[in-house]
């Protein structure tokens, strides 16, 4: 069941990608409206797919890289659809639709987990921790994307190149609001995710902090985003400087998410999560 829903979601995101591509070229508002509707439909299918997978195994499907990418793309899509309800950055769909489609494709080719999920993953703390962190990743990816678009538009305006790209990109202040909202929401969720993770580790594994690579890198990421929020809110680092710092923070985040899970051994690594049992030494 969840498999069929997964492919249906991917199909919806691909259709939306084509629609948004056409929108970028021809700038017809109708294409954006249809594309957005398809994305919402795709997001609903995506939610159902994840929900049914959760139902089938009894564990939130986020213990392997495959599943994490799946949930991450769900978080990214949900975040951008929600933020866009108010800000209406139409071009965003043209970036998010192909990106989420790619993430789902990547998830599809990765190995299906063979071992049954660990009993440790059935607690209610786990979905709160995982969903918070992955939704935060989605929002922070949105922060990065809006920052990149900001840099591009800023550069076009400064270079006085007021051509096709200038017309298609949204106004700077709207990108700035998008950046701001996604950053604040993403940072809040990241904080919640880290705290719940720590608390659950204390309950099940006996300590809040275990110097695991994932934990260390997650803390570094969190600190970088704390700096980003501080410079933005207190020192008024908006625009270019904020966007560059945001890009750096997102690079570290990606490493924490994918790199650390694959490269470093540790209880939090993707291949050891399913085997996690009882209290760690």
């Amino acid at each position: 069941m969840s498999g069929a829903l997964h492919w249906a979601t991917l199909a919806a995101y691909l259709v939306a990608t084509v629609l948004y591509l056409a929108f970028v070229i021809w700038q017809r508002r109708g294409l954006h409206i249809v594309g957005r509707a398809v994305l919402w439909a795709g997001f609903c299918l995506h939610s159902l797919a994840l929900g049914s997978a959760w139902w089938e195994t009894g564990v939130l499907p986020a213990t392997t890289l495959r599943q994490s990418l799946d949930v991450f793309s769900w978080g990214l899509m949900g975040a951008s659809l929600l933020v866009n309800l108010r800000l209406n950055v139409m071009i965003l769909g043209a970036l998010i639709a192909p990106l989420c489609a790619l993430l789902l494709l990547a998830a599809s080719v990765l190995a299906v987990p063979s071992a049954p999920p660990s009993k440790l993953m059935t607690s209610v703390w786990v979905p709160v921790h995982v969903i918070s962190v992955l939704a935060a990743y989605g929002l922070l990816a949105l922060t990065f994307l809006s920052g990149a678009l900001y840099l591009l538009q800023d550069r076009l305006i400064r270079a006085k190149k007021l051509g096709a790209a200038f017309k298609r990109l949204p106004p700077l202040s709207r990108l700035d609001s998008l950046n701001h909202n996604a950053l604040v929401a993403g940072f809040t969720l990241l904080t919640i995710g880290l705290i719940t993770g720590a608390v659950y580790a204390q309950i099940k594994l006996g300590s809040y902090w275990r110097w695991d690579p994932k934990e260390i890198w997650a803390l570094i990421t969190w600190l970088l985003y704390a700096v980003l929020i501080h410079t933005r809110l207190v020192q008024g680092w908006r625009g270019r400087r904020g966007a560059w710092l945001g890009a750096l923070a997102f690079g570290v985040l990606l490493f924490t998410f994918v790199g650390v899970g694959l490269l470093f051994p540790g209880y939090h690594a993707f291949d050891s999560l399913p085997k996690l049992e009882g209290t760690l030494p």
């Binding site: 400064r158 007021l162 200038f166 106004p171 700077l172 020192q235 008024g236 680092w237 908006r238 625009g239």
Partner: protein, 432 residues
């Protein structure tokens, strides 16, 4: 006598070159006097706006255009050779056409913008006051004002006034998204800046502040741009450091020779605004906003040249109106040339004789009709009598004109010819 126009505009030269060649308003009188000293220059008018520097001269002999071009570059920190590349030269009919087109705003950065006519009037006033505009240029400039007026009333070219202010609003929307609740500041109280401010207000800008060298003018303008209580929104230029932190859009149009908005000033303003962006629209030449300001994060600076690109897109829609305006210009060029050509001894004598003979013939016909039934011999005698009277009467004026041809200097001859034509109401000259 020939007309020569030497100049450069926003199409041929970048703003740096234009602002370098434009004389300070207070020096204009001296510049005109210098021009009159160039060999062959008889009359001269000099026009300097943000978009063009042009010298219009009535000259004798050739090669004067080159001398004017060299004079423009003389003493400037520019290579005379490069300056020569930026210049255009129009002679005779082409010079007249160019002037008419400029005055009708057909040659403007923003086709149809209304300020140029006032600027030409100002240039003419300066030349007339210094005595450098006489018979030919007086006539040409007056005609120019009429042409511009005709174009404005007979076409809708100004009505669309898709102007620099329009472009500024489009850009502001790409920076601020929604202009509602924003504050704008005018630095300097030029007409163009006022137009832009009105446009911004029409698009939602909440408050317009005015900073000006003279406070009275600032108060007056602030009142016009927001109904009453202008004093609260008017400042002197010294208040700039304080005011700059309160506004989102700044339109500068002072006549200052040094930048009014320095990088340091902009930096302070940005700090107070906590990184909120500021959009500078600099329509002054020389520029009011230091180029280094545009390097700051959150500072966007557009000068008059940059706005061209935004305006370009709107140009198409007004091509129809422009074509009609061009037709009017062409018509008027022909008329003026007819007049210019008539300012010579032979056509003036011919016109005078022709007019006198026409009066004589008309009166004779009426008398013959009244008398009725005269004998052929008597009719011939009357004919002879009137013709002789006319010839004798015209003899002295004609001798005077021929004498002019032989002896008087070109410029005094032109003045005398113009006077004679006016006295006898001859041809085009007599119509007004």
């Amino acid at each position: 006598m020939n007309l020569v126009l030497v100049g450069l505009n926003h199409k041929t030269a970048p703003v740096e070159v234009r602002e370098c060649l434009a004389p300070a308003p207070e020096d204009l009188g001296d510049r005109l006097a210098e021009l009159l000293k160039l060999g062959g220059v008889r009359e001269v008018v000099m026009l300097a706006t943000c978009n063009r520097v042009e010298v219009l001269a009535a000259v004798e002999g050739g090669e004067v255009a080159g001398a004017i071009g060299a004079w423009l570059a003389d003493g400037k920190p520019l290579d005379p050779k490069t300056v020569a590349d930026y210049l255009y030269v129009h002679q005779g009919e082409e010079a007249v056409r160019h002037l008419f087109r400029v005055a009708s705003s057909l040659d403007s950065l923003v086709v149809g913008e209304p300020q140029i006519l006032g600027q030409i009037k100002e240039a003419y006033r300066a030349a007339a006051a210094g005595g450098s505009s006489r018979t030919v240029l007086n006539r040409l400039l007056h005609k120019t004002f009429q042409v511009a007026k005709r174009v404005r009333t007979e076409t809708n070219i100004g009505g669309a006034a898709v102007s620099v202010s329009f472009a500024a609003v489009e850009l502001a929307k790409k920076i601020f998204d929604d202009l509602h609740g924003l504050h704008a500041l005018l630095v300097g109280a030029g007409e163009m800046a006022e137009l832009a401010a009105e446009h911004l207000r029409a698009n939602g800008v909440e408050r317009v502040l005015v900073a000006n060298r003279t406070l009275e003018r600032a108060v007056e303008l602030a009142e016009r741009l927001g109904g009453g209580e202008g004093a609260g929104r008017a400042y002197g230029l010294n208040d700039l450091p304080e005011v700059l932190g309160q506004v989102d859009i700044v339109i500068t149009s002072t006549g200052a020779s040094q930048p009014v908005i320095t990088q340091e000033l902009a930096k302070k303003a940005l700090k107070r605004r906590r990184g909120n962006p500021v959009f500078f629209i600099d329509i002054a030449v020389p520029r009011d906003v230091e180029p280094a300001v545009s390097e700051l994060d959150g500072c966007f600076v557009y000068d008059i040249d940059d706005l061209t690109q935004v305006v370009e897109a709107n140009r198409e829609s007004r091509l129809g109106e422009a074509a009609q305006a061009e037709r009017i210009v062409a018509e008027e060029v022909v008329k003026f040339n007819r007049w210019l050509g008539s300012l010579d001894v032979v056509p003036t004598i011919a016109d005078m004789t022709q007019k006198a003979d026409a009066i004589r013939a008309a009166e004779l016909a009426r008398t013959l009709h009244d008398l009725g039934g005269l004998q052929p011999g008597q009719e011939a005698a009357l004919e002879h009598l009137t013709r002789a009277m006319m010839k004798k009467f015209l003899h002295d004026p004609i001798m005077f004109l021929k004498d002019q041809h032989a002896h008087a200097s070109e410029s005094s001859r032109r003045e005398h010819l113009a006077l004679v034509r006016r006295m006898f109401r001859l041809g085009e000259n007599g119509e007004e």
